[in-house]
Symmetry: D2
Subunit: 342 residues, 4 copies
């Protein structure tokens, strides 16, 4: 059920509707839009008749929602959501007219490596950096990341270069730390249906970047975002990173059609990760261009100052030189779609 | 690296090799086999030359292991592993000559429902029961399980009917409780690469049943088991539950060929879950028969005393009547493969 | 539209209904069942009102058919169809209570090889032989089969060993020859949607064995059979041979759940080919057992008297010795399902 | 084996090498490049030692080819191939710096419809038209195309509007007619491994547009083109049209990464068909833009003057108005990649 408020509904009216809902044992989610506020309702509504809500002051109508997702849907919020990320060099926006680029190494290896990357990434024009401190690796014997030490290195680079930090949390403990040290909490593909972690991210006060699971349908992907939002964190962006298919010329099959599909039913921004999406260095640039052209809201790219000696995923990292060339192409294609690049 | 000990190596010799390994900053995993013990070594071995180990008393040879997995591999332990589950009615074994059946409802709904199921499952001849207290659901608004209350109901049924309890843990908190109340800790498909949870399961003192992820390759599946074993818990069984493909006549595509594939490279037992594997009540019996015939070590089946009114997954649960017919077929086919059914 | 005739409808009444249908510019397909005949109607019916047919003598009712398939559906013919194959040693039946085994080498290489195989296959208890004269190969530079010469060798073996011959046609020209020399016309997976070839097979007077395409859904598979039947050839059997998925431990993923799925909606028999379905010699026996247990109507197995020197697909062919062991297991499991093995 | 000729090798020298090869019972394929000619050799070379060829006049070296494909590979011909299509309004080129657009309805329905489409497509700036006369349909009861009548309508439109005609052949008979009436012979996805048809296309004197099969790997796709080229027709272009995956928000999953993958190993041009690739009208424009940006050599787009009343595939056809908007975007993005649009 969705309660749509009048354009000129007052704060007080909105609060009154929310309180009424909460008094019924349900949860109210006021979602401010550009012109009006809508209030999503979650919880077990079966025993309650909510029809009376549309007679409350400031309410336009009550819409029963048939799709499994509620808070992520365009029905709740017709305008595009914009992820707002405060960084030392000012706010970065992703979504709507704003195209965002997040670049950096797969893993933080040490201070020198990350600072070198930060300098190059910043020079290339990106203001958001990726870097893994907690690495979910297929083998327990592979490099698992520097953990807290990695977070601290990234936080230092944050101040030194004015970049916002995007990094993955893999469990509740690491999420606590990521929330403390970083600017955006990334939930990885392998944890897309780790519902316990999604709920914890929903209680965090930092933006969340949620990657699509390797075999997730569109509905499952959106429902994972719904888990985060249902806990009260509405600052969510999605990220396509390739799905698993029979096709063997790339590590995964990048499903760019999910971008217009998400935009069709959801207000959330969606980025594309061509590095994991292809797993091949030579495919990163063409697929990055394609992601901009298909209408994605941003890119998540692995850039390593020395790809051949990266501790992880070097085969899919591009060099800072190639990154600069790519940024030029990204800006030109983004312009065709009337978007500015952050 | 794998250290193979002589048939008549003494406890002391084995312990000496282990200590030597640990002194080098590595981890030793002595794995007793029927005729001899092998010692797996994990940790960062790059800086250490281990060749000298083969000159220690009781050692036959040191084998470099090329496959990504070590502890799960047949190279470490040529004989089939057998999962041993103590229940109030005596030990149940799964693996080798022992075929095990785990049956019960998708979710524990209340005491009456679970006890009714227990009576029927026990009558059908199964001594292990499944039942979910923590349900990973695609939607945050679906029934998420009774949690601790569900565990307590199952523990009661355990004593009342003499059945062993198999139930899923979804995070560290629920794993603590599952370890306390149940007999087998199940890790679900969606958490197959929740490495933090796998490591926690590896430190538990109860057997672990690990389900294959929806898009997991054989290697990834085995490496997830390796995560559990690398923490010291060697009491692990695998479970095939269908993979995601284009095929739309069943909810998932049950990949029975993974059973002989696992048996080829690993000593671990592997069960099959035809309920999730097909998602269709009418397909459970034929695919259960096929699972026995292909050589699986057991079945995990959803049985609900009133499938049409189940709170979750009723469409894939069979009735107690059909379960009894199925058990008859299972016994006959198991006999063809010289296996006894628990 | 389906016209269901009374149990005691006379030949004349059936003929009268068919003529009436054909006079309307449509095609009538009388399909005799055990207790009654049903008449399927194909062609463009949009302009014609057929309701009047149910007032004709001998007609019970007219059923509008909603599913895309008609002639293959159980609605048209509730009883299982049985493929009847005349061989020099008498009729072989596949379907219903009859389980059929078709065995032999991937390709006919020369007279000696095929005769050796025939002797061993016959000794193992099979009365139908497979063997390719026209081989669809991924590369134009691979061995493409002996063509007409291969057909002649198989026809000779037919007489010498009393076996029925099942072999693939790849275009209209080869189909003419296969129809002349062999007993069953096989349409391969790659040609499952070669509609021109399917129609030609529908005009042949020999039974057709239609293999599932590598990415065919159940509906597409059945519609391909519908193409054959819509041309008047109702002697059709299906064959599952593995579908293409991300799973890499077998060459294809054998989808055994399609067997009960086909049996649910269609009266056609369905066999399983575990040789192509797995592409691994060591998986053929377990998956063959599983195919019997799941309820398949037969097996199509590659047996080569010298697998390691086969000109094609040797890696998935089993030896005559293993075939004999397998036949023993097949008979035992078939007995559990109350089926006799041909 | 590949014989690389000197830059200044004479016609006579090239012919001499070819004759020598043919005298050995093999087939020679001289492939002229921009700077030099290479000669591919196909046939059974096992019994022949070809090393002596490098001592013949004009020969630089003989390169053993390890990849399964030969004639399609970049090793044979390092420069991009360009498909040259003569039309009444002059040659159209696809490949290298030339980006080609082929647009038109799924099926030719009648003269009025196709002429209306031709006028709008031409106005939008395309000089090549698609239109089906032989339609491979999943159901035998669906509209199968106008056949020869459809070809004649397209041939008329060809003259009236100066467009080149691209249309599908589904068997040898229709290929004869398509070769006579149209400018480009299309081989559809369902026939990608109809090797008999591929060979016939290889003997045609018109360019061939080969669509990727729904579950074809890159190697299988290229080997299908190899079948065409091995018969002597080197005027071949590929077309990605979506592959089959679990993903259900589009009809197929458009695999744009295959474009740089093909360009990496093959000299053949590759187009993209976003209409079949997504099966959704609303996804055609974004994915068309992405195809240009990823580096495809052209687009194959369904445009219908009245999509809602199309006899087939209306749900994936765009209107002429949207096509014009799209062409504007295509030109802008093509310019970023320094390509001109035909």
């Amino acid at each position: 059920m969705l309660v749509v408020m009048k354009t000129n509904a007052s704060e007080q009216e909105i609060r009154a509707v929310c309180e009424r809902i909460e008094n019924l044992g349900l949860k109210a989610h006021p979602i401010p839009g550009e012109t009006r506020t809508a209030i999503g309702i979650t919880g077990n509504k079966s025993a309650v008749d909510l029809a009376f809500l549309d007679s409350m002051p400031g309410v336009v109508e009550c819409i029963p929602v048939s799709k499994p997702y509620k808070l992520v849907g365009r029905e709740v919020k017709p305008e595009d959501s914009v992820l707002v990320i405060p960084t030392p060099s000012g706010e970065v926006r992703i979504g709507g007219p704003h195209f965002g680029v997040i670049a950096g190494p797969c893993a933080v290896e040490n201070r020198e490596q990350f600072f070198a990357a930060a300098e190059r990434v910043r020079a290339g024009g990106a203001r958001l950096m990726r870097g893994g401190a907690y690495k979910p690796r297929t083998s327990p014997y592979s490099f698992q990341g520097l953990g807290l030490e990695g977070l601290k290195i990234m936080a230092e680079a944050r101040e030194a270069y004015g970049v916002g930090i995007v990094t993955e949390a893999v469990d509740n403990e690491s999420l606590d730390l990521v929330e403390e040290y970083a600017d955006v909490i990334q939930i990885g593909a392998r944890n897309m249906q780790n519902f316990s972690l999604l709920k914890r991210a929903g209680r965090a006060r930092k933006p969340v970047l949620l990657k699509r699971g390797m075999a997730a349908t569109l509905d499952e992907f959106l429902m994972a975002a719904e888990y985060v939002m249902s806990e009260g964190n509405y600052n969510v962006a999605l990220c396509e990173r390739g799905v698993r298919t029979f096709s063997d010329h790339t590590r995964n099959t990048l499903d760019l059609s999910v971008v217009p599909a998400v935009h069709g039913v959801s207000h959330l921004p969606i980025l594309v990760d061509p590095s994991h999406g292809t797993g091949r260095r030579t495919k990163v640039r063409p697929l990055s261009r394609a992601a901009v052209a298909v209408g994605a809201d941003g890119l998540l790219i692995e850039v390593h100052h020395d790809p051949d000696h990266a501790l992880s995923d070097g085969f899919q990292s591009i060099s800072p030189e190639e990154f600069e060339v790519l940024m030029g192409e990204v800006r030109q294609i983004a312009a065709v779609l009337s978007r500015s690049v952050n």
